[in-house]
Symmetry: C2
Subunit: 160 residues, 2 copies
């Protein structure tokens, strides 16, 4: 393994800054959402995606792709959200094997109540810390990483 | 809550690209490390930090700060690493209340074996996807977010 190409000092600083920022940020957002809305950040993302879909419903396979979640992790989260009455699962009408997750009125109410506090936290921790140039860079950096890990784009994400 | 300042389309695209990239990336790195080294990414980060410390040992409180980890999450991880014989805990010589975590020879061996594969994964997923300009931007963006969440810098991180 003596031919390993280690990170240069510049690359290592960038990688560590990103790792530290992400660890701190995800913890902060989880704390904020747990304290104010009783849910982790991952649940919030699921509710947001469902709220934006037609009829507030989405196939589990598509929801997994949109939230970049594995099927098993998503199934676990949806089961918890169903217990709370925030999401309802039904069989897909056109596909015997598929299941659809739908946001309930109760779930929409919870999301609507949680959103202002969450957006304020994201603004304070990220948006207001960055220049408009950095925000544009964050988008292109994120997109480049997503395209590397999911070359097919949104429609062809491996969800297993 | 009608005075909520929602994200603009530019800000929302950047935030979602970052979230998606991070979710995909952390899953990919976890899978790579689990498959090749039998550990999640969080354990790897702990071993790296210990390997860089004097005597390959660090107080738990400092290790928590360096890995941006809560004390409870770190304690859990260190207990698992101790079971594997990769880390050893001892009482701090100068402070009755403190504990020190030390990388064992076995832990160093595991880390040394895991590092080339992990670095190759980080290079492929992040470094080689970005221009040198974007790598510099990633550092300044990460640093700005860390400073917002930890205003005191490295020495004054809240670890509770």
């Amino acid at each position: 393994m003596s031919d390993t190409q280690w990170l240069t000092p510049d690359q290592q600083r960038a990688w560590r800054a990103y790792l530290e920022a992400t660890t701190l940020l995800f913890d902060a957002l989880d704390r904020q959402l747990q304290a104010e809305a009783g849910m982790p950040h991952g649940y919030y993302e699921i509710l947001v995606r469902l709220s934006e879909a037609e009829d507030r419903a989405m196939r589990m396979s598509e929801l997994a792709a949109r939230t970049r979640s594995s099927r098993s992790r998503l199934s676990h989260a949806i089961a918890r959200l169903e217990e709370r009455g925030w999401v309802m699962r039904t069989d897909a009408p056109t596909d015997r094997r598929g299941q659809v997750a739908q946001l309930t009125a109760k779930g929409l109410g919870v999301l609507t109540a949680a959103a202002p506090g969450h957006v304020a936290a994201v603004r304070a921790a990220v948006i207001e810390r960055l220049t408009p140039e950095q925000i544009a860079q964050l988008e292109s950096i994120g997109t480049a990483i997503v395209e590397g890990l999911c070359p097919g784009g949104d429609g062809a994400i491996a969800t297993s």
